[in-house]
């Protein structure tokens, strides 16, 4: 191995450390703050407002939140997306209106969050109540 090769390899290792740093920061924050990502479900004039709040310092890009609800008229999917979600950012989905069948008859089937950590690493988080097979 000559000097040029050693320099490139060292630069590569530094780049790997830099590339991994947003993930390391996110992981550390998530371990220290369980509320880094919270979901609130609130009734809103006969509808339901599902709000995702993010409290991390690493930016999430191309974020898409999808909610699947089981209603009397079948499965209802609704999604909301934003280009960027940073500290204190929210993403809200309001579900209601036709085919909704009233709040008492609705059951959450799945909540799915997709996006990219720092615009680089694609991720997906899904929440299924009751084990959701």
């Amino acid at each position: 191995m000559n000097i040029i090769h050693a320099t490139i390899v060292l630069a590569g290792l530094v780049l790997i450390a830099l590339a991994a740093s947003p993930l390391v920061v996110l992981v550390e924050e998530a371990l220290n703050n369980p509320d880094i990502l919270t979901v609130n479900v609130e009734p809103l004039n006969g509808s339901i407002a599902i709000t995702l709040s993010y409290n991390g310092s690493v930016k999430l890009r191309d974020v898409n939140l999808t909610v699947s609800l089981e209603t009397p008229s079948g499965l209802v999917n609704k999604s909301a997306s934003t280009r960027e979600l940073s500290r204190g950012g929210n993403l809200t989905i309001v579900i209601g209106g036709d085919g909704f069948g009233g709040l008492g008859n609705v059951r959450l089937a799945e909540l799915k969050l997709e996006g990219k950590v720092s615009g680089i690493y694609p991720f997906e988080i899904s929440y299924r109540p009751g084990g959701g097979g």
Partner: protein
């Protein structure tokens, strides 16, 4: 001594010594440093990537030792850059195989609910390929064609 030729035994010792250095480099880069970064991230998400057993690690280390020793012994011939390139490619393939291509997923059961998390760490693999594997393939050939061919 009629000639200035180095005895075969010394050449073998020199080649094996260089092979040990090569083995340390490949094992450190492809089987230790980069997997440590991946596993640090992975263990927060799931049970992590599968770790190499001692037997597998020893087998890969011996393979790298053999390739690096052969490359050192064949210095000055075209086989030297070829064997060094093969070592780099082999190391990269081991990394990709054990890191599952950077695809990581896990499921956690919390209060009767199931939370699934998946993340794609392949951008780190691209950096490894671009900055460690590719130079490790190109530079030995560059060295061979510019420094070791007589008359160049």
């Amino acid at each position: 001594m009629s000639t200035g030729e180095v005895p075969v035994s010394k050449r073998i010792i020199w080649a094996v010594g260089n092979g040990v250095l090569g083995m340390i480099y490949y094992v450190a880069i492809y089987l230790y440093i980069i997997p440590v970064v991946f596993n640090y991230l992975a263990q927060q998400v799931s049970s992590g990537f599968p770790e190499l057993t001692t037997g597998q690690l020893a087998g890969f280390a011996l393979f790298f030792l053999g390739l690096s020793s052969a490359a050192a012994g064949l210095r000055g011939t075209i086989y030297n850059p070829i064997l060094r390139a093969v070592s780099n490619l082999f190391g990269f393939f081991i990394l990709v195989y054990y890191m599952n291509g950077g695809e990581l997923s896990g499921t956690v059961a919390v209060e009767g609910a199931r939370i699934g998390l998946s993340i794609n760490l392949s951008p780190i693999i691209y950096v490894v390929f671009a900055f460690i594997t590719v130079p490790g393939i190109i530079i030995p050939f560059y060295d061979y064609y510019t420094k070791e061919i007589p008359g160049t």
